[in-house]
């Protein structure tokens, strides 16, 4: 069932402002580790947005993969930077670019609300059924892709 009107709007505004603040934080903070944590906030807000589209499995998958794995790897990569090399200035150009992008995004992505009905089978079950029957060959190929990614990453990182 769709969310009631005021709650939908409240969530939209709350997550949107969190997203914008997080985005500004990623760009404007001088310490790159603070930037990475701000990126974590952005990814959490993006994943919570999928609640408004009634797809709860995507929320969980985004939280697990983006925040749990990808943000952690970015943090580890950022930890290699020395403390003395941090950027000390407060660049005005980046503020202007961030605001411009914000306005363009708001104007170009406002969509109308859609009514979604709830099925007998839950979302994750439907995804599982389709994955195993209609898309089982891509499912197997995904495992091969993951294997290749693992081997490639280890081969590169060992040097």
């Amino acid at each position: 069932m769709d969310l009631p009107g005021p709650i939908h709007d409240f969530l939209l505004v709350f997550l949107g402002s969190g997203l914008i603040l997080g985005g500004l934080g990623v760009v404007l903070l001088t310490n790159p580790i603070y930037s990475t944590f701000s990126l974590g906030l952005v990814l959490v807000c993006i994943s919570l947005f999928y609640i408004l589209s009634n797809s709860h499995f995507v929320v969980a998958a985004q939280l697990l993969i983006y925040v749990g794995a990808i943000n952690v790897v970015i943090l580890f990569a950022v930890m290699f930077i020395n403390g003395s090399e941090y950027y000390k200035d407060f660049n005005l150009l980046t503020i202007g670019m961030a605001l411009l992008r914000w306005f363009v995004q708001i104007i170009w992505t406002t969509r109308s609300n859609q009514i979604i009905e709830q099925d007998l089978i839950s979302n994750s079950q439907q995804i599982g059924i389709h994955l195993a029957t209609d898309f089982f060959l891509p499912f197997e190929f995904i495992s091969i892709i993951l294997l290749v990614a693992l081997i490639g990453a280890i081969a590169v990182a060992r040097q």
Binding site: L3, P4, I7, L11, I51, F57, A60, A61, L64, I65, G68, A69, I70, V72, V73, F76, A77, M79, F80, G83, S122, S124, Q125, Q126, I127, G128, I129, L131, A132, T133, F136, F139, E140, I142, S143, I144, L146, L147, A149, L150, I151, A153, I154, A155, A157, R158
Partner: protein, 120 residues
């Protein structure tokens, strides 16, 4: 609750657990006496005088573990919907998921042999 009715119990649990934490910090923030001194402000090193710098150089081992973790985390996300629909699907789907996990076990053997899982 007023949002996502089927998660009522979950919201109650979340709110109560957070309220206990916040209450604990507030009460102790009021009750604890604060006395500053040079010894109290130095960093803790298991009772001895702190020696050396607090920041160590980052080791590559942490990154290797995060890398292996990402691949197996993505695999786990694919196994969740399979597990949710397991009771309505038959044995052939079980075999398919078995093949999926088998290919990734080959990958984990590779990582093991190549020393990506070494800590020392």
């Amino acid at each position: 609750m007023f949002l996502l009715y089927e998660y009522d119990i979950f919201w109650t649990f979340l709110i109560i657990s957070n309220a206990i934490l916040i209450l604990a910090f507030l009460i102790f923030g009021v009750l604890v006496p604060i006395r500053k001194g040079p010894k109290k402000l130095s960093s803790y090193e298991s009772g001895i005088e702190p020696m050396g710098d607090a920041c160590l150089q980052f080791r590559i081992r942490y990154y290797m573990f995060a890398l292996v973790f990402i691949v197996f985390d993505v695999e786990t996300v694919f196994l969740y919907p399979w597990a949710m629909s397991f009771n309505v699907l038959g044995v052939p789907v079980f075999i398919e998921a078995f093949i999926f996990v088998l290919i990734l076990i080959v990958g984990s053997f590779y990582a093991w042999r190549k020393g990506a899982l070494e800590w020392s």
